[in-house]
Amino acid sequence: MKPITLKLKREPTVTLEAEVICPDGFAEMSHEQIAASVVYHGKRQVRLDEFFDIEGERSEHLVLHGSLQRVRHLGRGMSCGSMTIHGDVGMHLGALMKGGQIEVFGNVSDWIGAEMSAGEIHVHGSAGQQVGAAYRGSLAGMRGGLIVIDGSAGIEVGMRMRKGTIIIGGPAKDFAGLQMKGGTIILRDGAEIRTGAWMHRGTIISLKPLALMPTFAESGQYNPTFVSVFSRLLRRHGFELPNDPAKGVYQRYAGDRSVPGKGEILIWKGHPEG
């Protein structure tokens, strides 16, 4: 199927809320219908083709080009198809998504994959705050699916997430896994302070040492079997988790006891060479 190509032709002066840019809707739309879709430039309703050059029709594969920092809510609630974005993207990318794939060659802003329940988001650049988090006042964040960030991430990664996996390649800021209820966060380059604060359940795996909250208790060193199984699943994203007993072990911490929670933080400790 030939993808629909959208090229940003002029940068919005204020935020552009474009939840219509979503494979679900565009799969059934003719070129004219897509061009006439309503986006919100600030408060004003404008046609989509005022900001984008559009090519193609009736496809659930979208390709976007341009610096879209002010374009928000892309792929909101999408359930199928794919979006490939070349450029930086604004907030709420793939929020509430139920399926499909998003790939971004650039940086993304806050709240990406917020409260998503399935699907995949892969960001080749860095992410802002609240990756896969719960919106304010909501009890559960991400409920399934996979988010891969190759670069760094801001505060509150996976806040109140219930299920699913988040992988951060670069360093994450404070409060990664805040109030987690389930799911897995993998921090390949560690995080700043207060990781796993107030977590009820769920797993945080860090390959770098972390400064933990005082309410976490050490609970043994081992090589969990599930890490090897998980590692095999992650191989198609181009990396593996170390779990060779000859090379090192995972130090397990249980917490957060203030909640009191049954979450776990696993920190990889490589054996000194030789």
Binding site: T13, V14, T15, E17, V38, Y40, G42, K43, R44, Q45, V46, R47, R70, M91, D110, W111, Q129, Q130, Y135, R136, G137, D174, F175, L178, I193, R194, A197, W198, M213, P214, T215, D256, R257, S258, V259, P260
Partner: protein
């Protein structure tokens, strides 16, 4: 201090605990002073949350906050024994590392203390009618701050719609500032954006913000030369009677006249209509 049926000895029946990073003048008025290490409020509050539930905490775990388990245990006993506890918190909590989560930790602790006794938490306000703005926004929209109306209904998302974040990202093309001076307090990118876009300021005085604004309308100072309602820190509304006369209009009058002037020109945006499709 007020004596009552249940607290016949007044101040002697009450306990004041001060928690700060240094011994301030308020420490003299307090019964107990706890010196917490800077930036460790969140850790201390989280440990307290664990301890009130009877979780065992060791001195090693508490050490990084600069306190000891005995001190915290004593504090918890006092809190649980109290008939009615109030926690006051200010900018030391909300403007240091962790920001809203430090406040959230305190509010959660107050909520959890209600399993034992009555407890509330109250923010210590700065200048002006800050509480009033929060209260009015709350009953009008359901949210206290960080609200966007661009879709025709209120949406709340601090970080996305709060003033400082919008200005830092440069997401507005106009700013209307009423009785505030963001030019003196906000970070540099926000101030630069205010100087770049048309900024309109309503203020009785010349401020940092009014200096970088396109339009400054001088208004009568509220509560001194203009009547109104000020909200006390505990959300009690107080009617304000003007003591002086001012040649300038009040904020309310200026905004009303702007609204009337706009209403007289219904076609002021014909080249860019607000809606391209009639809304159902």
């Amino acid at each position: 201090m007020q004596k009552s049926k249940f607290l016949p000895r007044g101040r002697k029946d009450r306990t004041v605990v001060l928690v700060d990073i240094r011994e301030t003048k308020s420490a003299k008025a307090a019964d107990l002073f706890l010196q917490v290490r800077p930036g460790k409020d969140f850790e201390m509050l989280t440990i307290l949350r664990a301890m009130i539930k009877g979780e065992h905490v060791t001195d090693d775990q508490v050490a990084e906050t600069g306190l000891t388990t005995d001190v915290l245990q004593d504090l918890i006993e006092r809190m649980k024994k109290a008939k009615f506890g109030v926690m006051f918190f200010g900018m030391g909590l909300s403007m240091t590392r962790g920001k809203h989560m430090n406040a959230a930790a305190l509010l959660t602790l107050a909520a959890e203390m209600n399993a034992f006794t009555k407890f509330v938490a109250m923010p210590m306000r700065g200048h002006g009618n800050v509480t009033g703005a929060d209260v009015i926004m709350r009953w009008q929209t359901g949210y206290p701050f960080g609200i966007s109306f661009n879709r025709g209904y209120p949406r709340y998302n601090p970080g996305e719609f709060s003033t400082v974040d919008i200005l830092v990202r440069g997401d507005t093309d106009c700013a209307f500032i009423i009785g505030a001076d963001p030019g003196a307090t906000m970070p540099r990118p926000a101030i630069e954006h205010l100087a770049k876009v048309p900024t309109i300021v309503l203020d009785p005085h010349v401020t940092h913000t009014s200096r970088l604004s396109r339009v400054h309308i001088t208004t009568a100072p509220a509560g001194i030369a203009a009547p109104g309602t000020g909200y006390r820190m505990d959300e009690v509304p107080m009617p304000l009677r003007p003591a002086l006369n001012s040649p300038y209009p009040s904020d309310e009058e200026v905004i009303r006249r702007i609204k009337e002037a706009i209403a007289e020109k219904p076609d002021w945006m014909t080249d860019q209509p607000q809606m391209i499709f009639s809304q159902v």
